[in-house]
Every structure is written in structure tokens, then in C-alpha cells.
Point group: C2
Chain length 293, copies 2
Amino acid sequence: MNSPEVRLLLGDCREELKKLADHSVDLIFTSPPYADSRTHTYGGVSPDGYVAWFLPISAELLRVLKPDGTFVLNIKEKVVDGERHTYVIELILEMRKQGWLWTEEFIWHKKNSYPGKWPNRFRDSWERLLQFNKSRKFNMYQEEVMVPMGDWAERRLKNLSETDKVRDPSKVGSGFGKRIANWIGREKAYPSNVLHMATETRNKSHSAVFPEDLPEWFIKLFTKPGDWVLDPFMGSGTTVRVAQKMARSAIGIEILAEYFQVAHDSLPAKISLPVQQLALLEKKEPYDAAKPE
Amino acid sequence: MNSPEVRLLLGDCREELKKLADHSVDLIFTSPPYADSRTHTYGGVSPDGYVAWFLPISAELLRVLKPDGTFVLNIKEKVVDGERHTYVIELILEMRKQGWLWTEEFIWHKKNSYPGKWPNRFRDSWERLLQFNKSRKFNMYQEEVMVPMGDWAERRLKNLSETDKVRDPSKVGSGFGKRIANWIGREKAYPSNVLHMATETRNKSHSAVFPEDLPEWFIKLFTKPGDWVLDPFMGSGTTVRVAQKMARSAIGIEILAEYFQVAHDSLPAKISLPVQQLALLEKKEPYDAAKPE
DNA sequence: GTTCCGCATGAATCGATAG
DNA sequence: ACTATCGATTCATGCGGAA
């Protein structure tokens, strides 16, 4: 494999994505601006217009993703007029019409949001991580994200009963049997589709939408070293930064010069930008640490 | 308030619901048969036909619910041909057309989910708890579900002082620190929209689909003693049993005589059934403890 | 009494094989 | 080709009996 590289593109992803080749990316991990946030960019997408705004982008993502690649979309609907808005679930339906397969929905449980409440609801402590694929056969490296087994295992496996050594069919006909003996020597178990991760609190010079653990988990699960990771809404660059640390190649696209600059500056291994982009950066306002929300 | 009572109805909820008066119920909590499960009843609803099957029922539920009442629907889509099926999210969209407001989506994190390993997915360890309302003003007794605070705030503030204060003094004055400080010294905190509960695996003469903690939490949150709770898919009666324990009145509807009998027999405070229903029970096979799956 | 340990159980899903 | 059946895989929990 070639030495991993990072490419940062300053601009609107609706344009920048067109520069990427077909079937060139192994994993897309992104957290797009939610409806009504970052209204200063992307024309202030309204909840009602969200699906129409996103579909051209997801069409490009479908094009650049390799056939055995994966698209993970971190998103959560906001509350509008007392209701959860339906733009996310409508988006799922429309993306399927585009050709995406809705393989799975992971839950990110945000462990440490501060307590608080509204008259009609509690604090929102979870977000969706929608997994989309182009085909039913996609790359997944499950062993990379295994977790330590519970301490029950040690006790359990010390003494095996006779029924443990053979497949013991369930009494109630659930069709499920077990062979406890298979677990001997194992120290790790597979995770589930619920991820417990704290939100980023140690805020550095940039504020991140999600903690580094989140892209790291999916990069481990869906790519191997040298593979290409894409984040079309790079923001302050969490995804590309993690990808670089993990020896994956990465492409990050960001429309806002301030965020772009933060992402560039925070890469552990520095990269140089094309002259063209440096000129673009010059024209924008200088990055102000207090500005990004 | 009148003394709480429990009414059990043996029959198809599509018929039985018609017997209930308009605006008579404070909380509907139910877990309908998921697509393709419980195929021996309800004609084995297929994923593709699920929405059409459910809509007439949700229309009746809309009629019987009080204007300030709440409907909590426990459901999860199954995997069909490698994808999460879309019947649940389609149902949300269709129910809104009926007049329901989709107020919130709680997550039930099942700590001990069904085991299994597949090449393309992990264990499914969460289910949806969809909250629907008829109006934006509904009864919610948030204090009833507050949880012990523990040392949450202390840890949080310690974190704040050590890290955030140093790196970004603006955070402390900006309200973040103040909000945290507001919680110091309080004994209880409001919960979030993620519920961590184990499934009921122990088989005590009947197997419950969900643990008693689950309906208990929503009954506390959305009703007060004496209010009416309805479960149109009663099953083995977890919801009505909990409601009775909590001094709420309850109505349970179940189509299958075996489950109906279990629900009736497991009520802590015994109730007598109308002669008509006893006759119906007679005609069915007698309940056999080994039989319910 | 308290702690430790054995054990059955569960809204599942995939791939291969058979009709 | 398309559908139905079958075997394989897997982990946290709470009860009950033992130490």
C-alpha cells in the first residue's frame, strides 16, 4: 500500500465531491450540519428543506464509495414545534430510492450530557449512526472492535457441565442452542449496536461535534490501514485527524475557512496545502478562536 | 377518584377497541407483535403489510386517548434481506397524517440482548419507544421519575475546573459552569431519553416481552394514581399488572386465550371476569403452563 | 445471613441446502 | 430463479442452591 495521505478541500461539498473519482473511498463518516444550525453556511438549511438539500450530496457519495464500502451518517432530528421533525426518517426512505441499502442503525449513547429538562421532554442523550451500503457484501473487520468479556466468563468457564460440552437445544423451541465449551480461551466478546461514549468535554482550540472515539470505532470496523476515509462535512477535522493517526488515507471537505484552518492546523502529521487553497484562505476572515460555536 | 379497577377484554383489539369510549384513556403503553412474530395470531403480519395492518388500530387509539394523554409504542424493525426494514419509520409518517404528534423517541437499551454473531452485523441491543400525543399540551409528571444524583455534579464540576477553566475561561462564565453549579447539592436529577433495562429472561410461568420496569417508568411519567392505562396487545399482562400495583385503572386486550389467562391469573389483586368472557375461555383450549412460547 | 457459582433463557439472523 | 427449512452462532441476567 502507498503511504497514507490526507487531502483537505476547501469548498462546498456539493462541488468538491465532483472532483473525486468513482469507487475510490472505503468509508464515509460524517456528521452533517443539522437543520437550522450553522445557518451561515450551506444557506441555512431548514428542516422542511433538509431532504432535498441532502439528496444530491448522498448521490455523489454513492458514486465515490467503493462497492464494498460503507457510509456512516451521524444525525439526529431536532425538535420543531414540539415534535421530533421527520427529515431524518424521510431521508432514509429517499436514500433507499437512490440505491442505498439501510443496513443498520447504531445508537450513540452520549453518557455525559449535563442534567437538564424542558417542560415536555428530558435531555436528549442519543444520536443516530445510520449505516448505509451499496451492496450486501461489504468489508467489516469485527475482531477489531471486540471488547473484554464480562467477569462472569471466568467463573462460568472454570467448570463445564456435561450439557455445556454439547449443543444444548433450548427447551422452549426458540431454535437456539448453546455450546458453552466454544468459549474456552476467549477473552473478548463482540460489541452490540449501542455505543456508549462521552461527548467531548476537553475542548481544545476547536470544538468537536463528536469525540474521537466515535470515528475511531467505525474506522476500525470498516477499514484497514491504507484505506480511504472521507468526511464531506469535516468541520474542525475530527474524522480526518483520527484517520491520519490510524494510518488511513483521508479526504476532508469543509466549506468554512475558519473550520478548515483548524482542521489543517490540528493534524498530528502536518500537510502542505496547494497554493490555490492558500489563496482562498487568505481571502476569508482570519481564524478567530472564540468564533466557532 | 374512584377505586382503581382492571378490565380485561378477550378478543381482537381491532374489534374490542370499538367498545371503549372516546377520550377515556390517559396512557396507552403497548408492544404490538413485531412483523412476522406471533404468526399464530393476527395472521402473521408481514413486514410489507405492517403499516396497513396497524393504521386502523392507531386510529382507534387516537379516538380513545384523552386530549392530554400519551401513547407510547414499543417497537423495533427486523432485518429483511440484509437491511433494516422501513415499516417502523413509514408508520411514524402515516400516523402523523392521522393526526398524531410524534413528540419524542426514547431508546430502550437492552443490557442483555439476544446473542448471536453474523458476518455483517452485531447484536441488536436496543428498541424504540415512540411517544405520540394528540396535543402539544399533555400531562407529564417529570419529578416522578427522577433518579438519585450520585456524585454526578461533583465529578462534572471537578472536570470543569481542572480542564475547561484553564483552557477556556469563557466557558465558566458563559453559563456552562453556572448550569452545572445549579445542580450541586441536589439529591435527584432528571433522567434522559435513554433507558437502560435488562430483558426479562427468567421464566416465571409466563415469559414477558419487556421487564416491569419499562411500563412502570412510563406510567409514573405520564399518569397519576387513578388514571386509566390501556394496553391493546396485553400479552401476558405486564402492563396491566404494573398498572394495578401502582393504583392506576387499566384495560388490557388480548386475542390469545392462553395469554389472556396468564394475564388474568397473575394480577396481584384478583378480578372477576364477566360470564361472557368465561364462556369464551371455556371454548378455547385450557391453559397449559408449558405451552406459551 | 452473605457470597459464590451453576445454569436456562431470550421480538435474531445468516448461509447452505432442499423443494 | 425463488421460497421454505435447517443448523450454527452467542452473552448478560437473575434465580436458586451451595459454600
